[in-house]
């Protein structure tokens, strides 16, 4: 499933269009950055409520094509700028982590 398909199926708002055709292998949900650093795999989307620039730094280092911010999270301005520079897709869901995970798991789990 591609990032674009996930946007459509989960009704996500896209704040930075990047990697729309990237194939998503799964997802990792965590708000602990070292957990993501240590355990997320490239090609997964990252589900989090963290909205600062280190999120995009880690996404870029880990080759994570898209980040889903839960509960209508608003990224910091510098996070969004950094996402544009690094080509990271930034998505926003109105749902909380549990619902986003459940919906995504039903699609690609």
């Amino acid at each position: 499933m591609t990032v674009k398909e996930i946007i459509e199926k989960l009704d996500l708002k896209c704040l930075n269009e990047a990697n729309l055709d990237a194939e998503v292998s799964g997802a990792y949900a965590s708000d602990l950055l070292s957990d993501v650093m240590g355990n997320a795999r490239s090609g997964q989307v990252w589900i989090t409520m963290q909205t600062h620039k280190n999120v995009t730094a880690i996404a870029s280092l880990k080759d994570i094509p898209a980040v889903i911010l839960v509960r209508s999270g608003v990224p910091d301005t510098d996070m969004l700028e950094h996402a544009r520079e690094e080509d990271i897709c930034i998505l926003v869901s109105k749902d909380a982590t549990f619902q986003v995970c459940g919906k995504l798991y039903a699609l690609i789990g």
Binding site: L32, M37, N54, A57, E86
Partner: protein
Amino acid sequence: MHYSFNIERGNFTDAGQASSSVKRTLKQLGVDPVNIKRTVVALFEAEINAVAHAYGGRIDVDIDGEKIVMVVADEGPGIPNLDLAMQEGWSTASAKVREMGYGAGMGLPNIKKNTDDLKIDTQVGVGTTVTMTVYLT
């Protein structure tokens, strides 16, 4: 090849620039993606540790055909009990740092897991030097 970067106390905004720059170089050099990932995970964690705990510092990275050696040297409080610090879940991070999603006590264990050689020289009240090596062959 040698690269140096400065570390500023509490500057989380620019954290990750060293890892990002090293990643680009390793990619250009055609280094195996698994080794690139190990290198950047370790370097990022060490950089964050210094930003979060120290008063300032410096990163030196040397790359040759056989290995990547990363030295993160800081002036800071030092680590009073290194055995405790190496334990997963142990952290002395501030509330502010924890709010950002750090301080879960996974940084040093992540570094250990992703490097072939890890040396930590630390002196309380002076600072800490973390030397990490990833072998490419």
